[in-house]
């Protein structure tokens, strides 16, 4: 589904991604872990199409299409979803209007007519239950005045409504208490199927107790330095990132 080859990217002339290679197939869950500043969020932003970053090398193919050629909105329409680490507050745009617009823009891209109002409302109702999102929040402005946990739940709610092929969850666990974490993880697990894939970007192993990955990758200094199964995450948790840092910093010298 997703094939990243030797991806390099920089911001303001500073190289952050220094040659990323990653293959993600339908039905898989990949976790990308790493210390702060290793390039985790840059990778998710580059995949989602944030224009602040300059891709300087490599390729990303998504279901056979050159993802890097597509505008951010077209990537979303093709089925890429980024759950933001810091969801944006948009006063004056209601969650409902936002989602209806998103769904219909995606449908238009696919040559489909607008979704019927009653089908849309039924969909919203169903997905709200999935992430235990208060119906009142759906009527409010996008993320405005939401708590940290509500914002993250709202991301998963949007994901549930839009049903992407590839979901990239950027530090979705950060700032969540254990109950919110359980709800978010539960939502992600329920949405998982053999046709979609998930990339979890996280600093801590904690989330991986709830969403069990098929593969774990350690990102350090702009490169994936180690890959393995779910046990790699536990190993990292035990040893910390210091060993990795030591090993690769020495190697770099």
């Amino acid at each position: 589904m997703l094939s990243i080859k030797n991806l390099k990217a920089e911001i303001n002339g500073k190289e952050i991604l220094k040659g990323i290679n990653l293959e993600v197939k339908a039905g898989e869950v990949h976790a990308i872990m790493g210390p702060n500043g290793s390039g985790k969020s840059t990778l998710s932003a580059v995949l989602a199409g944030r224009e602040d970053y300059d891709v300087t090398g490599g390729s990303v193919s998504f279901n056979g299409k050159d993802l890097l050629e597509l505008a951010a909105e077209d990537r979303a329409r093709e089925g890429v979803f980024l759950a933001f680490q810091y969801p944006i507050e948009i006063p004056g745009v209601s969650n409902i209007n936002f989602l209806r617009t998103a769904i219909n823009e995606i449908r238009k891209y696919k040559g489909l007519p607008d979704m019927e109002a009653k089908d849309f409302l039924a969909l919203i109702k169903e997905k709200q239950k999935l992430v235990e999102l208060d119906a009142k929040l759906a009527g409010r402005s996008v993320n405005e005045g939401f708590s940290g946990g509500e914002k993250k739940r709202n991301e998963i709610f949007q994901m549930a409504v839009l049903e992407p092929k590839l979901s990239i969850l950027d530090e979705t666990d950060s700032g969540l208490d254990i109950d919110a974490l359980r709800i978010v993880a539960n939502g992600v697990n329920k949405l998982k199927n053999k046709n979609n894939a998930t990339i979890l970007i996280t600093h801590y192993q904690r989330l991986l107790d709830y969403i069990v990955p098929d593969f774990v990758h350690i990102l350090y200094n702009g490169k994936i330095v180690k890959s393995g199964g779910k046990e790699l995450a536990l190993e990292m948790e035990k040893k910390g990132y210091d060993e990795i840092k030591k090993e690769y910093d020495t190697a770099a010298v």
């Binding site: 909105e73 979803f81 944006i88 004056g92 745009v93 769904i103 823009e105 996008v142 949007q158 839009l162």
Partner: protein, 425 residues
């Protein structure tokens, strides 16, 4: 140079004197005062602080050398089919003249042509709140206004009132309209004024004096939607009594020049003033909003929010004055102006001016100007929403705060439609 300009001004005033109609409602003494003021001061250019970005003298000199155009009548049928709004009392005014037989009279209200308004009303209110020798456009209006309407609300009117100002002319025209709104003690009324025109070029110098009596509530909305070649100066002078509320919502969506002068004198205790504004400018438009809230007495509050979406090569001005006079203790006065710039060639001039002479008051003001929020834009795009739709959503969201405070749903719908149309043009 200065002599040249004064000559230019006088040429315009001569032209005006030649073409203006005769007024019979304005006291002769006021007209004398006005003419004397104009003789001495002329029409202001951009050296005048209040007209720094709005050079009326240059506009008149260049665009209105002659004003010999003529008015074109509009049939009742056309008025109704083009402008009628349901669930409202529709009043039609063509080129400042009341079209009585097309209009529906609201309950508890006397609507009259200004020259047919009872003398006792005129005596009590006319030229009382707009000081003749305080501004050139007021003086021009006093000297030459020959039309306008009076709306006298004697007790509460349930149905919302809509005044459609339809300007219809041919050739360059300059006309002065004088209106009076009197809302008596304990009365409540909602009035929305729409300004419409098509492509003709004219200058409308519109002046409204408003009296809001004790414990009266006047909700006043003004929507400028005149054609791209229209020039409008709309001066509103409001006088508020004890425990009264005056809410003004000012929407400007089109016109080559729109200058809104909005002044409120809060002349008695426990009164409230709310001023809301939204303007969308593009091409070479000039929209200049000058507001003044004058707190004269204690225990009153005022709240002001103006928002602008400024694009093309247009220029927008927000100048918001708040005076808190020495006697006006326990005043709460708030003001905020926010602007979004859509192009690098557009200009926003935002200037709050607070003058506070009382010591026990709460006042604040803030102004901001920026572009569409890139983070919000990316967030919307990351959900599959295209650039154009995403920007539109964000601009709607920006305007929402101002539009949403409109109480009447029918009016709100109409304003939303005009707003969205102004984003598309």
């Amino acid at each position: 140079m200065i002599t040249d300009k004064l000559t230019a001004t006088h040429n315009f005033l001569d032209e005006l004197a030649k073409h203006a109609g005769k007024a019979n409602f304005m006291p002769v003494s006021e007209i004398g005062l006005a003419l004397q003021y104009l003789e001495e001061k002329g029409i202001p250019n951009n050296k005048h602080e209040d007209y720094k970005y709005c050079n009326i003298e240059a506009i008149l000199r260049k665009e209105f050398k002659t004003i010999s155009g003529k008015e074109i009548a509009v049939t009742t049928n056309d008025l109704k089919s083009n402008y009628f709004i349901k669930d409202a009392c529709n009043i039609y005014v063509v080129n400042g003249k009341l079209i009585l037989d097309a209009s529906e009279m609201p309950a508890n209200t006397v609507v009259s042509s200004i020259d047919k308004t009872p003398t006792e009303i005129l005596k009590k209110h006319l030229a009382q709140y707009a000081q003749t020798n305080s501004d050139a456009l007021i003086a021009v209006n006093v000297a030459y206004a020959d039309r306008g309407i009076c709306l006298h609300v004697t007790s509460t009117v349930e149905k919302t009132i809509v005044i459609h100002h339809v300007n219809s002319s041919e050739g360059d025209l300059f006309f002065n309209v004088r209106n009076l709104f009197v809302v008596e003690k304990n009365a409540e009324a909602q009035v929305t004024e729409f300004f419409h025109s098509s492509n003709q070029k004219y200058f409308c110098n519109n002046l409204s004096e408003i009296f809001v009596g004790e414990s009266a509530h006047f909700n006043h909305t003004v929507v400028q939607n005149a054609g791209a070649a229209s020039y409008t100066v709309n001066t509103t002078k409001t006088h508020q009594h004890k425990q009264s509320t005056y809410t003004n919502s000012c929407f400007t969506f089109s016109g080559a020049l729109v200058r809104n002068n909005l002044n409120t004198a809060i002349a008695a205790e426990f009164a409230e003033t709310h001023l809301f504004g939204l303007f969308v400018t593009k091409a070479n438009q000039l929209v200049d909003n000058h507001t003044l809230v004058d707190h004269l007495k204690p225990n009153c509050q005022s709240n002001e929010l103006y928002k602008g979406i400024v694009g093309g090569k247009s220029t927008s001005v927000f100048n918001g004055k708040i005076f808190v006079e020495k006697d006006a203790q326990k005043t709460n006065a708030y003001q905020s102006s926010k602007n979004i710039l859509l192009s690098d060639d557009a200009t926003v001039n935002a200037k709050p001016e607070l003058e506070i002479y009382a010591n026990d008051v709460k006042c604040s003001h803030g102004t901001s100007t920026g572009k569409v929020d890139e983070n919000a834009l990316f967030y919307l795009k990351a959900r599959g929403i295209g650039d154009e739709t995403a920007r539109k959503l964000l601009l709607q969201a920006f305007a929402h705060e101002v539009i949403d405070q409109l109480k009447n749903e029918t009016i709100k719908e109409k304003v939303v439609a005009l707003f969205e149309q102004s984003l598309q043009d």
